[in-house]
């Protein structure tokens, strides 16, 4: 890349000194610091001459001139890392040295985060590992301990998305028709397996489509697990892991259907198909802007109704209504997480809602969905469609405010959005847990009082 006049003009304000590097007569590189000034109009950097026969930069030859800066932070290390490296011929003019750069390389952590710089280095890392493998005759791969690798590959912390609707469905069943603990446990395990199978499959298909490689701004909440891209796990291993999770999840589902009623199969099959075709061809639902709808259905009504059916052997309106708010909120997790991914998703042909919509409409969509979610909770609780104590879930609504603020202020800054992504997950979790707590309060009140007050049931 050629240095721009703007880059050359900015050198004096960004750096205190320059280092001229060249190759000496013995073939060793030699680097000497000196003062400088920039002449952007002529596209040159003027360097003070250095003294001493042995350290004279060669006139007329190509050299490398580096400008580097850090700010020490005692007890921590340093920050404000930046450097600019220029290459070009050097000549003597009026007792000074003049560099006419024709190539530039550099990094400024205030312009590009270290995480993005690292992601941009992944192809280089893979190339290095391939060469090392060839040189040593053994496969050299990066490593992580099994526990960390499992956590990363499966994206285990996202299981709250399964626990909330399943426990909510079980809570509604316990309120209406009793509770069987081992069926509840099997439901949670089965739901978790399907969810983990989906997470792992999602990585397989996003690696195949190139979406993960295109994304140089992943966060801990978006951009996938990247374990295949990093070479930590092979595509085949991930595919097998996904199949294993699906096999266990489907196996548990079939057992539960046999025990509780074959009507469970309808919802089980719908859930498995949505989960599989979320990223899998030929449907690739998330590529068509249907990801949010799939996630809302899968981690809302399908999980909650399934869990309810396992306990009661029947379907009912109440678990369906209870699951709608958590379904919308889980869709909003995906929706927000897709905001930093949108340039890479667009390049990979993944037409998610944030890819399709403008910033203003993305924010309006988020705000509107939050209003609908808490409006529904209020209406359902007040009218008695859900037990009345579920009104306490409204207490979680303020968690949405910092998310909306961050969307307005940091829409194009993936790493600045990370706290908002965490807050958005808390919004879903807190709302779901408060809905469940509402049912627990109703169950306890029903057990304690012969004729419980209506606001407790």
């Amino acid at each position: 890349m050629k240095p721009t006049p703007e880059l050359i003009a900015g050198l004096e304000s960004r750096f205190e000194h320059a280092v001229i590097a060249f190759v000496d007569d013995d073939g060793y590189p030699l680097s000497v610091a000196t003062d400088f000034r920039a002449d952007p109009d002529r596209g040159v950097v003027i360097l003070n001459a250095v003294a001493g026969e042995e350290v004279q930069p060669p006139e007329g030859e190509r050299v490398n001139v580096v400008f580097s800066h850090i700010r020490p932070q005692p007890g921590i290390g340093y920050d404000e890392r930046r450097y600019v490296s220029l290459w070009g011929p050097l000549r003597k003019v009026d007792g000074r040295l003049e560099l006419a750069p024709d190539r530039v390389q550099g990094w400024d952590e205030q312009e590009m985060s270290f995480f993005e710089l690292s992601e941009r280095g992944v192809p280089q890392a893979r190339k290095y590992l391939e060469r090392l493998s060839e040189d040593t005759g053994r496969e050299v791969r990066p490593r992580l301990s099994f526990g960390w690798l499992f956590l990363r590959a499966t994206r285990l912390p996202f299981l709250t998305a399964t626990f909330v609707p399943v426990l909510l469905g079980i809570a509604v069943a316990a309120w209406k028709d009793g509770f069987n603990w081992w069926l509840a446990l099997l439901t949670v395990i089965g739901g978790a397996c399907i969810h983990l199978g989906l997470n792992v499959a999602n990585d397989v298909f996003d690696t195949q489509s190139g979406a993960d490689e295109e994304n140089v701004n992943p966060t801990q909440f978006s951009g996938g697990s990247r374990v295949i891209l990093y070479g930590l796990v092979s595509m085949r291993q991930m595919a097998l892991l996904s199949l294993a999770f699906y096999a266990v999840g489907i196996g548990i589902g079939i057992f539960l259907a046999a025990y509780s009623g074959w009507g469970l199969l309808w919802i089980g099959v719908a859930g498995a198909l949505i989960s599989l075709f979320y990223t899998a061809p030929p449907l690739k639902l998330v590529h068509r802007g249907l990801g949010e709808v799939c996630v809302a259905l899968g981690f809302g009504p399908i999980m909650a109704l399934g869990a309810y059916y396992v306990q009661t052997g029947a379907y009912d309106l109440e678990p369906l209504l209870a699951s709608i708010p958590v379904g919308i909120l889980i869709a909003l997790i995906l929706y927000l997480n897709e905001v930093p991914d949108r340039p890479a998703d667009a390049r990979a042909g993944k037409r998610t809602l944030p890819v399709r919509l403008s910033k203003e409409w993305v924010i309006r969509g988020y705000s509107g969905a939050v209003v609908v979610t808490f409006g529904l909770i209020a209406v359902f609780a007040i009218t008695g469609l859900l037990v009345r104590p579920t009104i306490i879930a409204l207490a979680a609504a303020p968690l949405a405010l910092p998310v909306i603020r961050a969307l307005r202020d940091s829409y194009d800054q993936p790493y600045a959005l990370m706290p908002a992504m965490a807050k958005n997950i808390q919004l879903h979790l807190a709302t779901g847990l408060l809905l469940i707590l509402g049912y627990v309060i109703a169950i306890v009140a029903d057990g304690v009082f012969d004729d419980p007050p209506s606001f407790l049931t």
Partner: protein, 161 residues
């Protein structure tokens, strides 16, 4: 006392950043800002495989130089500048854990490294690292950091012989 003159060693022991220059396949110098670590005999620099071109260049041409030039990145009085030339090798036999042998030296300069290491799961490839070991052959020292005066030159190989 190590293999280098004391004023140069003091720089190496406190410098938070240095400029490592290697020679690429076309014979051009390429410079990288890196933390220098020093045990009295060898200068160590580590490089993640994410930024591993320098490792490949060293494997192709082991001649390198390291300069310490930034007044804010060193804690020595009076300020001075130095450049050390030397022969480098790359230890990448165990990218995952081999570099941890220089962690005590690294920790002294960048205590936050332990915090980053604790989050290894977030940056797994950053902590797959090669170690560059530089055995000094020659050192140049500029008293007061003024390079408009000739440097003192120390021939390390001859001094050790």
């Amino acid at each position: 006392m190590g293999v280098l003159p004391q004023p140069v060693e003091e720089l190496l022991e406190t410098a938070l950043v240095s400029e490592l220059t290697v020679v690429d396949g076309s014979g051009l110098p390429v410079t990288h800002p890196l933390i220098p670590l020093y045990d009295g005999e060898v200068i160590y620099l580590t490089s993640s495989i994410l930024f591993s071109k320098k490792l490949e260049h060293i494997k192709g041409n082991p001649k390198v130089s390291i300069s310490i030039s930034d007044p804010v990145a060193v804690d020595v009085e009076p300020f001075r500048r130095a450049t050390i030339q030397g022969d480098a090798t790359v230890d990448d036999a165990d990218l995952h854990a081999g570099w941890e042998r220089v962690l005590p030296l690294w920790r002294k300069k960048e205590p936050a490294i332990d915090m980053f290491l604790g989050k290894r799961v977030a940056l797994p490839l950053f902590f797959e690292r090669g170690v560059i070991e530089v055995r000094p052959t020659k050192a140049f020292l500029w008293a007061n950091g003024a390079t408009d005066r000739p440097p003192q030159v120390f021939d390390v190989v001859k001094a050790m012989a």
